[in-house]
């Protein structure tokens, strides 16, 4: 009898020890996300200091002269290129994404629904380098031979418009699945309430469902925005890689991420260039994170205003 009590108290000790150790480890894992976040900002900031001590921030952001070999670091062309690409992509992708999400959540039934949504899941998981490669043989010739000449622009097919078109394809499935999630989370009573006073399906979607799912769709679009803004591989393959202010949507150009990709390599041996490219990384982080935090804030506001 005494023996068994001893062994059971021994077992309890062991269990409590495991409990304490696991608690430490899990707590550490909980802090990891925050630590990683802080470490990224600090590391990028630290390595950007050499550039920032030589040039003023305003000067670097507003100068359009980018020539690392001559120690000229004007980020304006890449910033304009990034804004151009992001705006065009979102203009093309957002309406399609929201419409397709509405189709899946509200119109499609049974097998059609399963089929379309699994296609979209697959599309979301295809590596972006494959989109770039396919675009090189499908999109680039079409844009270069037909689309650009049609609007009176001569181009090789590589450029801002091509990147935007392909990026729209890359981010759409991502925005669709997040939007579908928020539409499907809505209670059927909302649909019944609206239809019950004689609204059509479209009126219900427009005035009730899109509003109620608004905060979710809004964050889907903003996350899509973040993806386009920081996209690297597709722009690097398709933008043409010339650091100048783009003159038309079909012009070649540079985005912030492609600036890093294209000038990475031999130029990295120059400390100031190295610092400049890391500073680009810092800019990307700051903008995407600012957007994220704003999005969270706006989302909460919308949720209050459009609650149901």
């Amino acid at each position: 009898m005494a023996g068994s009590t001893e062994s059971s108290s021994h077992r309890l000790d062991r269990r409590l020890l495991i409990e304490r150790l696991s608690s430490r480890w899990l707590q550490g894992a909980g802090y990891f996300a925050i630590a990683l976040f802080a470490l990224i900002v600090l590391a990028l900031l630290y390595q950007s200091l050499p550039l920032l001590s030589e040039y003023s921030l305003v000067q670097a952001l507003t100068s359009s002269n980018w020539d690392p070999a001559q120690n000229q670091f004007g980020f304006l062309p890449a910033i304009v290129g990034t804004i151009y690409v992001t705006a065009l992509t979102m203009a093309m992708g957002t309406p399609i994404a929201i419409l397709a999400a509405i189709y899946i959540a509200e119109y499609a039934e049974g097998r059609a629904k399963t089929l379309v949504s699994s296609f979209i899941d697959v599309l979301a998981a295809i590596p972006s380098v494959i989109f770039g490669l396919v675009a090189l043989i499908v999109v680039v010739p079409v844009v270069g031979d037909y689309l650009a000449p049609a609007v009176g622009s001569s181009a090789t097919g590589l450029g801002i418009f091509t990147v935007s078109l392909v990026m729209a394809i890359v981010v759409t499935p991502f925005m669709i699945s997040l939007s579908v999630e928020s539409l499907e989370a809505l209670p059927d009573e909302l649909r019944e309430s609206s239809l019950g006073v004689g609204a059509t399906k479209w009126e219900t979607i427009r005035s009730v469902l899109l509003r109620a799912a608004g905060p979710g769709i809004f964050s889907a679009v903003l996350l899509g925005f973040g993806r386009v803004f920081g996209a690297t591989i597709v722009p690097a393959m398709l933008i043409g890689g010339q650091t100048h202010l783009p003159s038309s949507p079909f012009a070649t150009g540079q985005t912030l991420p492609t600036l890093i990709v294209n000038d990475f390599g031999e130029l990295m041996s120059l400390p100031l260039t190295q610092s400049a490219l890391i500073f680009v990384g810092l800019m990307l982080v700051v903008v995407v994170w600012l957007f994220n935090f704003t999005a969270m804030f706006v989302r909460r506001r919308l949720q209050r205003r459009w609650q149901y």
Partner: protein, 278 residues
């Protein structure tokens, strides 16, 4: 007996999911105009199904099959060229869960009016909104915060807001699905009072699982059991002199409990019998 506002003609509904479930097995019921008819019966007996099929709201779900017809006055609801939204406007619906649309209190009431363009000026719209909010006894509680989100009201207030929203398009028939079951007893009472005040003007069809509520409010009672309509009668005779054995059992089985707040427990017990019956 007044004229029937709504009549079902051998209405049958089958859910064709993984296995077929006959929710309604061909019921023919007359719902008299300007009366409040309560549909009662144990859980899962097809009450909500019947209610939703009256204005074709079940159509938002896939895999539902329906046969038979519903007549709104003389007009067929299923075999018609009239667009479904027009029909639903004439047969309004208030869901079980109090549901505010994601707009302001004002816009909640104005929603149907705006869709149908039933007003000439902003002033008229204001007037209409006030009129219907007064009708459901909500005006005095919300008049100073019409621009606040509808969802900020209490559940009882939201349910009255739903009533106002439905009434605003002047339906000929109003369908209410257990409108008090999600509410606390006090809010439930105010909603009941509102229904009481409306029933002379409108044809109301209400699903309830509370026998006492049916007794208090209804002019007519319809008893559904396992997808069949067992008995239809005016409230008084229904409870005091049930024509059918099942009705008698159901009515007496419940009246033992008596207390309004306990109405959850009894139908559940009956539902077990339903399961066994399958």
């Amino acid at each position: 007996m007044t004229d029937a506002a709504l009549t079902t003609d051998n209405l049958a509904v089958t859910y064709t999911g993984n296995r077929n479930v006959e929710a309604l097995k061909g019921v023919s019921i007359e719902f008299p105009a300007n009366q409040l008819t309560a549909i009662i019966g144990p859980s899962g007996c097809g009450k909500s199904t019947l209610l939703k099929s009256l204005n074709r709201l079940h159509e938002i779900q896939s895999n539902v099959e329906i046969s038979g017809d519903v007549l709104l006055g003389e007009q067929s609801v299923y075999d018609t060229d009239e667009p479904v939204p027009e029909l639903r406007r004439r047969i309004g619906y208030v869901p079980q869960t109090p549901t505010a649309l994601p707009v302001s209190i004002y816009e909640n009431v104005a929603y149907g009016l705006k869709i149908h363009g039933d007003y000439d000026s902003r002033a008229e719209l204001d007037e209409q909104v006030e009129h219907y909010l007064r009708k459901v006894n909500l005006w005095s509680e919300v008049e100073d915060r019409l621009d606040a989100p509808g969802a900020e009201l209490s559940t009882g207030q939201i349910q009255r807001l739903c009533l106002a929203r439905s009434l605003a398009v002047e339906p000929e028939v109003l369908l209410c699905d257990e409108v008090t079951s999600a509410l606390d007893p006090v809010s439930a009472e105010t909603v009941e009072e509102t229904l009481e005040s409306l029933k002379d003007e409108y044809t109301i069809i209400m699903v309830t699982h509370s026998m006492d509520q049916a007794k208090r409010l209804a002019d007519e009672v319809v008893f559904l059991y396992l997808g069949d309509c067992i008995e239809t009668n005016d409230t008084r005779s229904f409870f005091e002199n049930p024509q059918h054995e099942r009705t008698a059992e159901f009515v007496s089985g419940h009246t033992v409990v008596g207390d309004d707040d306990d109405d959850e427990s009894e139908p559940t017990a009956t539902a077990t019998t339903v399961e066994a019956g399958r």
